[in-house]
Symmetry: C2
Subunit: 244 residues, 2 copies
């Protein structure tokens, strides 16, 4: 059976303006690969309700899972929860379970609940909460849409809690063969090997060495390790002493 | 007049599998902000022709510019040039000007042209070449689609050559005010200030200090520096000694 597919939606003006370098895409991509969920597409959009709603509706429809990052704090530009509810046709309001989690946290901290903080308890009807062990304001899963925070430490903690609850497939495995030749010399034999192994994917990632000469890391990906190893052995045979 | 808008398309299995952390989005976002071109959307897709073609067609139609990154090398998975040509309805073949650039480079290096290297001279009819001062294989602009390499050093060099040839708008300026209070205390006054300054955008980016307490960087963005400074002064007035 084919692995489940996923998309990611990163939400935030700060990514598109170049203020912040996104870290969550790289983190999630690695974790999904381990879990056997195939990340097929990522989009980054601004804090703009129509754009967020359109992206959520499209991506949630096309994939088994959609993971979002960003826009669930207390400020005016935190509109992800409302946009996801609108895109999925769900009602949204302050929910008692989420409010209780926040209230307990603020009580412990000796802080007061106010309207801004209460916004973080806005959770769509029918959604399951995602635990936030870092700063307590929860994320949520509404159908196949998993809504998480943008702050990397919180995003990573939410992913760690969420992923074991999802059904994955065969983990995507990979083996890398380094070849100390230019890609122009590698491309021919590599293309033939790729054509004769349709179950594997072959990537070539060039690099330049300190002496100015080129090499490439050839990455073989698939779910069957013995097939991958066989292809790696064939690459080493082809490129001889230049392959390690 | 409103600034031109842009989208970016990052192409490559290695980003979606978590093998490689993309660096080009962050780089381009910063450069476009300086140039007064508004980056509205980024997508990341795999080395998959129908996905690349659909994304190019959609994003080139919606924005003044589309910048792509990745998939223009010599190997079998380098299919961006052909996909862009297909999406834009252009013919593509080995072009004499691109071939001459590559041939001169290989002659200097004492390397032979072969079929794989010749693939990098496949350029759509009507496209303008984008100079590659690093490894010589050119990128190209076809209509409003600017096709560049994925290797960050090459991508950055291509952006540096390309951007001065595009007409930008007013650079997006920003001023940051640090407030040493939790976002829950900041959100109310910040939301009011945002509502009364529709020409500016206000972002709030929380952080946790070593002592466990929270603060936030409030970023005010716009094209009129005096308006931005006025709003920053107002924030400092509101948050008093907690604002720096």
């Amino acid at each position: 059976m084919a692995n489940p597919t996923a998309a990611m939606l990163v939400i935030g003006d700060e990514i598109l303006s170049g203020r912040t370098r996104d870290a969550n895409m790289y983190h999630l991509a690695g974790k999904l690969t381990e879990a056997g969920i195939d990340l097929k597409e990522v989009r980054v959009v601004a804090d703009d309700a129509p754009k967020i709603e359109a992206a959520v509706a499209s991506l949630a429809h096309k994939h088994d899972h959609l993971f979002t990052s960003g826009g669930i704090g207390p400020t005016h530009d935190d509109i992800t929860a409302d946009c996801v509810a609108a895109a999925m046709g769900a009602l949204i309001d302050v929910r008692d379970d989420a409010r209780a989690i926040l209230q307990a946290h603020y009580d412990r901290q000796g802080m007061e609940m106010n309207d801004a903080r209460l916004r973080m308890a806005r959770i769509p009807n029918g959604a399951l909460l995602i635990d936030n062990p870092v700063s307590h304001a929860p994320g949520f899963s509404l159908g196949n849409v998993h809504v998480m925070a943008g702050v990397p430490k919180i995003f990573e903690a939410m992913v760690e809690g969420l992923l074991p609850t999802l059904t994955g497939g065969d983990p995507l495995l990979s083996v890398t063969v380094r070849v100390d030749r230019g890609e122009g010399d590698i491309a021919g034999p590599l293309g033939e090997l790729a054509a004769s192994n349709p179950n594997l994917s072959f990537g070539s990632y060039p690099f330049q060495k300190k002496d100015g000469r080129y090499g490439a890391n050839l990455v073989i990906r698939g779910t069957d390790l013995s097939q991958i190893n066989e292809a790696a052995a064939r690459l080493k045979e082809i490129f001889g002493d230049d392959a390690t």
